[in-house]
């Protein structure tokens, strides 16, 4: 609750910054506020609290909120310079802060109305941010597509909520759980669960509901794409898992088969499409779709270890993504191109960028000793424990395909002839972000218990 | 009360309300000319009947006799639907207005209100917001640039001012604690008129009422000097009559609503001390209400012949940048005072 209040207040302060002209002070203020929010959230660890029967701040919520706040902190450091060039910097920051409120609601809801509100707050802010580069047609298209598809998905989600409400007579997760178990053979329950799943799959870009993702990710400003790939994805999966593990864990027969096929399709579509991409941004977009597939494996094979697997995966994936997108942002601004060719032969002049990109790519590909390896390992472990061996086999093959296209970037960096020897200028904030993310990726890869121990 | 009696009583009441609305709208046109003449030091209509009193009848006959023109390219159905919707929506608002308390005749209680729904104010808002369709459909179906511009102006103006109006009403509802117009009217006995508690709200409301009825200084949708006639440029005969008539009925209805919401409705201070019988009181209440309504109708006309028209950007600025913040401020203040008083 404190988190919500602090974040909302920060958002409103950001709006006032335009009127009272303290834009310069806004950025440190936001970082401070995020730190404060982190502190107050972390204080609630092991002190579960329920607010008006609507939000349950249990350890799950606390940990995911903390993860989201850390990612957001890194994101702000990464995005500051981009947004300072915009005229409406305060609006951008305010929207991001509001969307963080949505994300926190999404990880802590204990009532379907709160889930809906959380998703909407997050989505509405991100729709606008995707279109925020107003003079760019691609950005407009991205925002519009995201908005249309997102509202369509919300329709499915609401319909699902309606059906579930119709049969259980409640929005509360706990009573839905008991009621669904009591009426488990009703067709309304099945239809409701499936519609809910479709709505959430849209938001977390699982195939066949991923069609918006590549275009939206490519068109949106790179910073916003980063936000979508990290915070939005983490929150979406946290909400997905929270809903399904609390409400529908008793009736897994109704939905795991469908989700199983969705996972397989996602892994296939995401990885195979990524192979053919020239643009690194689009490649990362497809890779984000593929990663959604890996995370969803932990949802399919719901078990005791699923929570920590999802937490570990989303968090490390977000950190590596921030690293990769930051480098993409720097390089594309320098070279004016987002293609893989822009990265060719930059290793000599830019050792930090090259190394950070390599670590990020290795982590995304799942090569030890980076964190990405253990992320995949834990997800596969949950699947094997649940007896989904076939799924693991498919996922491993998909991961091998993934290695191919991630290595294309690394090869371009190290083994292509150098085109330019002038080092790319990296600002101090970006440098800090890159150093932090690279260290964290390696650190979590070597000591996975740093994250796993919390849940 | 038996069912047949109930039906007869309601039918009589409905027809009465309907007739009175029409007659008052008719004579508003006459009054408008007379007021204009008075303000401009002229005589005004004086040929048809004594003091020109039959002028509205003559106008009506003229309207009916005129040639009916439907533009070739327009969508015929929508072209006719436009004025019909405008007329319809302005006529159905009267259903929720309490014209007086109730009459006791032969042991029965006859309330002088067609129907008391528990969300009366919202009903009025809904009907107002539907009213804009009449103008938009008509303006679009005319297939004429001026008509379209007029229709667009009308709709944007009405939507913008509906917001401020709604917020002003929310503050009022906070003080009265009911959405029923009957309850609001009944609560304002003696000097407890809502204007005393909601002066700012009333100011906002009356400005919005001017904008909603498209009266000067907000008559941009039909500003003749820029748009020929606005949304009804292509209309002739009684369809044009419907649009003009609807405007006057709207004026009457919004005067009635303002009197009911803010000026005590059928109440008058000190009248309770005279010790009159309830039936006499009820009839006197109706008289008082109509006196208030006539004052507001006069006020509408007074403003029309005094104040020039806004420019469109000024109109939007007034609506969005002044009235809405003001009404939100009003709402906050009202809430604060209620909180303090109830603690």
């Amino acid at each position: 609750m404190n988190t919500l209040i602090i974040l909302s207040a920060l958002g409103i302060i950001a709006l006032f910054a335009e009127i009272f002209r303290f834009r310069k002070a806004l950025f440190p203020l936001i970082l401070l506020g995020l730190g404060g929010a982190f502190f107050f959230t972390a204080k609630e660890y092991n002190h579960p609290q329920i607010f008006l029967g609507m939000m349950n701040f249990d350890n799950y919520a606390v940990i995911f909120s903390c993860a989201i706040l850390i990612i957001a902190f890194l994101w702000f450091m990464m995005a500051k310079n981009y947004f300072l060039q915009e005229t409406s910097v305060t609006d951008h920051f305010a929207l991001i802060l509001f969307s963080l409120v949505g994300a926190v609601v999404m990880v802590s809801f204990s009532n379907l109305t709160m889930l809906f509100l959380g998703i909407e707050i997050l989505s509405v802010s991100v729709y606008v941010l995707a279109a925020s580069d107003k003079s760019n047609v691609m950005s407009n298209e991205s925002g519009f597509k995201y908005f249309l598809m997102g509202s369509f998905a919300t329709g499915f989600l609401l319909f699902g909520i309606t059906l579930i409400y119709g049969i259980t007579g409640s929005f509360d997760l706990a009573s839905i759980h008991t009621q669904v178990a009591a009426n488990h053979d009703s067709g309304l329950v099945i239809a409701g669960i499936l519609l809910l799943m479709i709505g959430l799959a849209f938001k977390s870009s699982l195939a066949p509901f991923h069609f918006w993702a590549p275009d939206v990710y490519e068109g949106a400003p790179t910073t916003v794409t980063t936000y979508m790939a990290t915070v939005v994805k983490t929150a979406a999966f946290a909400a997905f898992f929270r809903l399904f593990s609390t409400c529908f864990a008793g009736v897994t027969g109704h939905w795991t088969d469908v989700l199983w096929w969705m996972v397989v399709l996602t892994l296939f579509v995401g990885n195979v499409s990524a192979v053919r991409q020239k643009s690194v941004k689009r490649l990362l977009a497809y890779s984000s779709v593929a990663h959604a597939g890996y995370i969803a494996i932990a949802v399919v094979s719901m078990g005791a270890a699923s929570t920590s697997a999802i937490l570990y995966y989303t968090f490390t994936y977000s950190i590596s993504s921030i690293s990769a997108f930051t480098i993409l942002f720097i390089v594309s601004r320098h070279k004016g191109s987002k293609d893989i060719s822009a990265f060719e032969g930059m290793s000599k002049a830019n050792p930090l960028l090259s190394f950070a990109m390599t670590v990020a790519m290795l982590s995304l590909a799942g090569i030890p000793p980076t964190a990405g390896f253990f992320a995949k390992y834990y997800v596969f472990l949950t699947a094997i424990n649940a007896g989904n061996t076939l799924l693991v086999l498919i996922a491993v093959i998909a991961a091998l395909v993934g290695i191919y296209y991630y290595f294309r970037v690394i090869i371009a960096i190290y083994f292509k002839p150098e085109q330019q020897l002038v080092p790319i200028k990296v600002g101090p904030l970006h440098r800090t972000v890159l150093i932090i993310t690279t260290i964290l990726t390696l650190l979590f890869g070597l000591f996975p218990n740093l994250i796993l121990g919390w849940i | 009360m038996t069912l047949s009696l109930f039906i007869i009583y309601k039918a009589v009441l409905v027809i009465l309300v309907f007739l009175i609305s029409l007659v008052i709208a008719m004579y508003s046109t006459y009054a408008e000319r007379k007021v204009a003449a008075f303000m401009q030091d002229r005589i005004g209509p004086n040929r048809a009947g004594p003091f020109g009193l039959l002028q509205p009848v003559a106008d009506g006959v003229k309207m009916f006799m005129k040639e009916e023109i439907i533009p070739q390219v327009s969508n015929k159905f929508l072209f006719i639907l436009g004025p019909s919707v405008a007329m319809f929506t302005s006529c159905i608002t009267g259903a929720v207005i309490p014209w007086g308390t109730s009459l006791h005749i032969a042991g029965h209680d006859f309330a002088l209100q067609v129907t008391d729904i528990n969300i009366g104010i919202l009903y009025v808002m809904a009907v107002t917001s539907i009213g804009v369709y009449g103008i938009m459909i008509g303006g679009w179906a005319s297939n004429n640039k001026y008509s379209l511009l007029g229709a667009l102006r009308a709709s944007s103006q009405m939507i913008s001012y509906e917001v401020a109006m709604g917020l002003a009403i929310i503050a009022l509802v906070m003080t009265t604690g009911t959405l029923s117009l009957k309850g609001i009217a009944a609560a304002q006995t003696g000097w407890h008129w809502n204007i005393v508690y909601q002066p700012l709200g009333f100011l906002i409301f009356i400005i919005c009422a001017f904008a909603e009825t498209n009266r000067t200084p907000f008559d941009l949708p039909e500003s003749d000097s820029e748009l020929i006639g606005g949304y009804h440029t292509e209309y002739s005969s009684m369809k044009l009559g419907f649009y003009l008539f609807a405007e006057y009925i709207n004026m009457f209805i919004s005067s009635a609503i303002m009197s009911t919401l803010y000026f005590g409705g059928y109440n008058m201070p000190f009248i309770g001390r005279l010790g009159l019988s309830p039936n006499t009181m009820a009839i006197l209440g109706v008289v008082f209400l109509f006196a208030k309504i006539f004052f507001f109708i006069f006020f509408f006309m007074w403003v029309r012949w005094t104040i020039p028209r806004f420019r469109f950007d000024q109109l939007m600025n007034l609506g969005w940048k002044i009235l809405i913040p003001l009404s939100i401020f009003n709402m906050a203040i009202t809430g604060f005072i209620i909180l303090v008083l109830h603690k």
Binding site: V128, G187 | I159
Partner: protein, 164 residues
């Protein structure tokens, strides 16, 4: 009596909703959509939810649809400019929607054996709605303020001119 009225309004709502899709002229589509909203508002009244009915009319028919009409008129979309879609796409869309329809019909068919909660006479009254909204659902009510603020900030941000 009310049951028949309910069915008639339902059929009316569905028919006008279908007309929204099938008419070529966007203005006509919008007007049919307005009719649909009115039919649904009628259903609300029959379910004793006058407040919802009236709010449905004020918000959807009175404000949102007027904005739709506004935009369509302003962009002059009354020509039938929609590009022709390929047969394959149409077929896929029909199959997907058909499957959804079958799922919904199938799930609702089993629902008539369920126990129905007794109908409380004053469920939809505004007093009770207020009690529910400001007591049980206070937190969602407050949180929705953030949603509206975000939407408003977004609209202003996209709408305002960049001052360079």
């Amino acid at each position: 009596m009310t049951v028949y009225l309910f069915i008639i309004l339902g059929v009316f709502a569905i028919l006008s909703a279908l007309m929204v899709v099938f008419t070529k002229n966007p203005i006509h589509s919008i007007l049919y959509l307005v009719l649909t909203f009115f039919a649904i508002a009628g259903e609300y009244v029959l379910l004793n939810a006058q407040f919802l009915a009236i709010v449905n009319i004020i918000v959807y028919a009175g404000a949102i649809m007027v904005l739709f009409l506004f935009v369509v008129m302003l962009l002059n979309l009354n020509k039938e400019t929609e590009p022709h879609k390929s047969i394959l796409r149409q077929l896929i869309a029909v199959i997907a929607a058909g499957i959804l329809l079958i799922v919904l019909v199938g799930s609702l068919k089993g629902a008539d054996t369920m126990t129905i909660k007794p109908f409380a006479q004053n469920t939809g009254y505004i007093e009770n709605l207020g009690q529910v909204l400001f007591k049980d659902f206070l937190l969602p009510f407050e949180v929705s303020a953030i949603l509206f603020l975000a939407a408003m900030v977004g609209a202003v941000m996209l709408g305002k001119k960049d001052i360079k």
